[in-house]
Symmetry: C2
């Protein structure tokens, strides 16, 4: 049998409330009684049952985290931030991977609320109104993180994608590139994050008077980048492009792999840069020039925001912006003969 508060009380010769008081330090207990209780706890190796405690306090100290796929590098990085900061505030994480399935997400939301999680963090890659509605329906503290869509007026945390995109484009131009190509996952959604990035790209192109094209990709994974290599490289040749700015690191890595396999040298033949600075960006060779999105911090800030909401604090701003950084590495070369 597991030992309960009753056992401790009996052994210490006090009431269970007194035991509760010393456990929680909730009310004064005389030194000698406290000592007796502590000894009994020690002796019995007593550990409070958090389930019982949760039931009465209505605090589960649990936060539900729904992710697309923990196997995505950037997701893992965010979860690190979420978990580490959550722990600082004494919250545990229940992890659920949806693999992009909306029904799974819906189911998780329901189950998580049953489990009395105090907040939900949704890291999604889809434009999932239903799920968002469902969560908001529960009026539970909630943060929504989505790299691709930004439709709702929802608490979220990200970087200023437009400015980041401009900054990267300016850097590429500074490197001497005259004809640039931006490769992005094609969607015609006004609320997409890509839209913002394209705006930023176009702004720099226009300001500096360069030639900037856009290529709409069919996906945003490493495999997609690889598979579109043929078509993209063909496109760059026809248009005399010297640098490809990929909307996501995955695309860039896939493209670089394609180039490697085809004997195309990066950055000698073509410069490539990405967006994200996932761990692989600095592991791969040549190291990928990219926009650093602070994934760990994003997770950290997100959960802190959820915890704030749990504690009833008002969020001064529901769109939290984190700083970005341009990581200048070897995948983008300076154009010399200019």
């Amino acid at each position: 049998m597991t030992t309960t508060i009753k056992d401790v009380a009996r052994l210490a010769g006090v009431s269970i409330s007194t035991v509760s008081r010393v456990i929680n330090n909730s009310k004064p207990v005389s030194p000698e009684v406290r000592k007796r209780v502590l000894e009994a706890i020690e002796l019995l190796d007593y550990k409070p049952n958090e389930v019982a405690r949760s039931l009465v306090t209505r605090k589960s100290n649990l936060i539900g985290v729904i992710v697309t796929d923990i196997g995505n590098f950037y997701v893992a990085e965010m979860v690190r931030g979420i978990e580490e900061i959550g722990r600082m505030y004494n919250y545990d994480i229940i992890l659920s991977s949806s693999y992009g399935n909306i029904d799974a997400e819906l189911k998780f939301v329901k189950f998580l609320t049953r489990k009395q999680v105090e907040g939900i963090l949704l890291i999604s890659e889809r434009d999932d109104n239903e799920v968002v509605d469902e969560i908001q329906n529960y009026k539970i503290p909630f943060i929504y993180i989505n790299r691709y869509y930004n439709r709702y007026n929802l608490p979220t945390v990200s970087i200023d994608n437009s400015r980041a995109s401009t900054a990267m484009t300016e850097y590429l131009i500074e490197l001497g590139h005259e004809n640039l190509l931006y490769v992005t996952y094609g969607n015609d959604d006004n609320y997409s994050v890509e839209r913002k990035k394209i705006e930023g790209y176009n702004k720099a192109i226009k300001d500096k008077g360069k030639n900037g094209l856009i290529y709409y990709a069919k996906g945003f994974t490493i495999e997609d980048g690889y598979n579109m290599g043929d078509s993209i490289i063909d496109f760059t040749r026809k248009n005399n492009i010297s640098v490809i700015f990929c909307g996501h690191d995955e695309l860039a890595i896939g493209l670089m792999s394609y180039c490697y396999d085809k004997g195309i040298s990066v950055p000698e033949d073509i410069s490539i840069c990405g967006y994200g600075d996932e761990r692989i960006a600095s592991i791969y060779r040549p190291r990928l020039t990219t926009v650093r999105e602070p994934f760990y911090d994003t997770g950290a800030v997100a959960i802190r925001s959820v915890i704030k909401q749990i504690n009833g604090e008002q969020l001064e701003d529901n769109k939290l912006l984190l700083p970005f950084q341009i990581m200048k590495r070897e995948s983008c070369a300076r154009i010399k003969d200019k």
Copy 2:
């Protein structure tokens, strides 16, 4: 206010026991009453409080997973398997990252048991007797996964490392290599997994009558592989080595990056292979020849084993062996002029 079983009972005009019966299908309920209850549930959008339920049934449907770092590629892959299979059996996962800190692990074990998790899965990279003792102390279903150490007679799941190592070595020899080098994290522990792998390596070397050296590394991360590049490459030159068999993919990737940076071509100048087949192994270029450890399956099998234990089933074998595979890719070349 959240709606409880009482609200449902009141609205349906029945007792709470009846509501409980229809929710759980635990006892026969007349069709018309069942219908009324179901309607009330629907109307009130009632969701059972799992915390209350756990308290009385003593089933939390929670399994604690303690990992070193979810940022490690192979760990993320295992957690995918753990979570996905756990979910099939209706278990949720509480994730805790220890970052190798033993006190953190100890703390997690304690907290997890307080939270009434029904089992614990520990993915560790240390040789942590204390933690194992602690968990066993709780007599809670438990699986221990460790890539590096294998000291205890504990339920675990892995591949046959000795045989895998032999198979890879034989493949390298088949490729025509005469002078091989095995690079591993150096530790003189008889219980280390590396010991097994070295045995397997030596066996193949001996059987085939080749020359096989061993280099003891100072770590097992990508950075370690990179930093030891100088010394390792120097060693290979002095000893006329044509292929480096790294005990872990990370080491191999680090070493390949070093080679890239120094203008050493893989596999033209030197062949390199790894162990693990983490996701990066097939993304990196040249793609890494490596031993495929089925990380996802390892996680899947591990949690299934924990669930079996929870259900009181006897484990027929507490050392579960999964099949491995030799992934033949471009980082290892055939020696032609022989």
